[in-house]
Symmetry: C3
């Protein structure tokens, strides 16, 4: 992470010294901070069915896999969230109860990130809570974990691949050992 540049420009005694030290921009902290922000923006975009903001967390050819097969590219990912929004709106329109619209929230925790230059590998837990019940009572619905690949494109971290493991669905549940064995 250390970068030191020594330029000696000769002159009649003039010496120009250019010292570059460890840049905050290429530190682990900086990469992690930006990726954490990305992870959070992803969640808001998902829960509020913001297709554009959601798709923008992926690279142009990014891959999303939540268990039902790979969705490839921003356009296909955008379409997925738009369909989710339309389905939600149709359900709400068909709801004849006096209940207010229910809310759902995905949360991320335990973010592990291993950064190597402009690429990174991530692991994290997720869980979902909602109140889609007659009492609009908060309840935990599901949980699982993410297996992520990220790339830094033009200075911005993006998901190039997100694989979602989901413990509420037998086929999508994790099998095998610790998925966070990325070395340190």
């Amino acid at each position: 992470m250390k970068k030191t540049t020594l330029l000696k420009l000769s002159g009649l005694g003039a010496l120009f010294l250019f010292v570059g030290s460890a840049s905050a921009e290429d530190s682990y902290a900086e990469d992690r901070a930006q990726i954490e922000n990305l992870q959070a923006r992803y969640m808001f975009a998902l829960d509020f069915r913001d297709a554009e903001a959601y798709a923008e967390t992926f690279t142009e050819d990014g891959v999303l896999d939540y268990g039902a097969g790979q969705i490839v590219g921003r356009q296909a990912i955008r379409d997925l969230i738009n369909r989710m929004r339309e389905n939600q709106q149709q359900r709400q329109a068909a709801d004849t109860s006096d209940l207010r619209p229910s809310a759902g929230r995905h949360n991320i925790s335990n973010i592990i990130l291993k950064v190597d230059g402009n690429t990174a590998v991530g692991r994290a837990y997720w869980f979902h809570m909602g109140n889609n019940n007659p009492e609009r009572a908060a309840q935990l619905n599901s949980f699982g974990h993410y297996e992520d690949e990220l790339v830094k494109v033009d200075g911005e971290w993006l998901f190039s691949k997100r694989l979602i493991m989901n413990e509420q669905v037998a086929d999508w549940a994790h099998k095998g050992p610790n998925p966070a064995r990325l070395s340190k």
Copy 2:
């Protein structure tokens, strides 16, 4: 984020030293790290009814709005938490069961932060769990999100305004589109 220092050092000739480095102190990572710590201190202070520590997470004229109207300034905010503590103590004193005191915990997740110099805008999810039931069993109680404004005062990040959206209360639930559209 770049800070450039020009030092003129006398000698047998003029020597110009150009030192350019991104300071860790004014990086996004540093701001985010300090604000995350603030967010966590807020939660402990809230749950343990530590009025002083809670009020200290706000600016002197900071505004707290959890839905019932604005509470303005550290003193009013401190008073609020003190009343919460007194109410809790009275409930515990009036409890004739053999149960141990119940516990409640607010958690924060999905922190989005957009920093601009000495000000920042934040979004984050929160959820509360507790065991205020005869079995002292853990249960999820409520969730929502924060809409925050922060300022850096004498090197310390503080809340200048915190708006709390709460999905368990119809009037305090979020309506409308993605509240995290802050640009990136």
Copy 3:
């Protein structure tokens, strides 16, 4: 946080320059980023009963105290997780139902860190969710908080002591005031 570099530049005479800049490596952000990663690795290692990865989050003479007394040193800590894995495997082997193996997940939130050189003190909340029920439905099981001491050994942050408070067990529940009063 400041690092000072002494450069000796020859010329017509000796010139000593002090160049001080905040290094990204010894900033609060960098320490916090690495400790957050450690906290996350700990959780994956625990839930997937990865004794080696779990023990590696502690110093060689690290202390773990989850309420039942102190477990001292990596070997004893490793043995604990190995016993947990063996117990889990025995329960699964004895399970005559058609259910898939259940899953459990510990999550961390509200991480407070106070760093002083190569040592740090931490506080954080934890909560556990699982689906060990006939429906394999997600449910919240327990919560509490951590009181941590950390040291940086050969550039790597490790737990030297982790004390686990658990609100589901009367003897292990927190009593008293805000445990996060570490100053800032």
